[in-house]
Symmetry: C2
Subunit: 255 residues, 2 copies
Amino acid sequence: MHFTSEISSDGITQRGFSLDGVPGVLWQLDDRPLDGRPLVLLGHGGGGDKLGVAERARRCVGRYGFAALALDAPGHGERPRTAQDERFVTEVGELLAARRPISAWVARHTAALAERAVPEWVAALDALDGTLGAAGERLGPVGFWGLSLGSVVGIPLTAAEPRIAAAVFGLTGHAAQAEAAQRVGVPLEFVLQWDDELVPREGALALYGSFGSREKSLHANPGGHLEVPDFEVAASERFLVRHLGEGRDDRADRA
Amino acid sequence: MHFTSEISSDGITQRGFSLDGVPGVLWQLDDRPLDGRPLVLLGHGGGGDKLGVAERARRCVGRYGFAALALDAPGHGERPRTAQDERFVTEVGELLAARRPISAWVARHTAALAERAVPEWVAALDALDGTLGAAGERLGPVGFWGLSLGSVVGIPLTAAEPRIAAAVFGLTGHAAQAEAAQRVGVPLEFVLQWDDELVPREGALALYGSFGSREKSLHANPGGHLEVPDFEVAASERFLVRHLGEGRDDRADRA
């Protein structure tokens, strides 16, 4: 893993990297080893990018001692948009303006995006694992946090990636996601907005029902797609702490 | 409020009382004033009684400094069963044994029970309020916690009782409850079991949708009526703490 930038503020180091053309960011506590520390993978939403989750990343690092990792999804952030990406953005805008349902259309496009994104996340985990191993350190417990597009990518990623031990999903739900959801077996929290203008309620409830996990909690609240309450985000962070543990500084403590 | 018994263990005093023939229990920290302290009203489930919620009461008192109050519902605990109560218990058992749906039948009987129970809870709050006032103290913020039958009583109680500032409901859901639910405006958490054998999922989801509250969170988990996960119960207690505050001992602190 080759880092291309590094800035630090309030005790948190943010390092940029690029892996086979996929730009990413790693956040961690200044001058503390990553060795064994819980790592949360942060999937951004549609139209967002790796730095759109910076506030959440900094909170996970600052409050709980986690490390946090984000990637630009295909066609997002610093990555080039294909002709198909451009067409999608234009057509979604047109459908929304015409107040026509976009769920099936979004599901089709984002499923294709997820097929490209999943191996990129696996490669990033492999690279971090290798970097740590070369330094005599090891990867700690890994969690995934991502809503909306973050879940469209995160659900098949979590189904495929045995290193992910717990996940927060939500703001999505289409029949096409059911097969991957059935293969997810780790504890999860699923966030649903009762009045989501982009995701039909029945589709989200059905997706929650599809997950193969024995521990899975549905948390629903009133409001639209972008109105997840702060207390719900805080609860999802505590959920990750409950399953991954807090990042304690054993080395520092022993020093 | 006339207390008829008092026992103390692990720093918590449990006092029994009877109010117009309704037996109840009050839990509080030993030797600490009730003045201004958050109070949680604990509604027990069908077939249970006021001491069936003792463990939850002791946790709310011990961990959060709350006071806690429970009453026997009509036909439960130490209270006599009417011929109608006896018939209900027999017939519910027969319907369950025959694997026939009981939701509508239970809704009819428990709605009648709730009509008797709501004024009893109001009277208990009045009595406690009066007792505190006579001692120069005041009632603190009040919350309600009750699932299943506890919610059948608690929903119309919370709709009618302006002293209740936050509520935890769940494990119930029948169209007959929608009208009272619409009149509930306080923050609430609604607990749903995805595979509840006694409450149809659609009915519970519809009831959640009916609440008039701006802040209302649905928390669903896999499993049957009696399998609410411990972490969900813990979350509902933190919800009450978030809205009622913790019981701090200002007097003790000042002393």
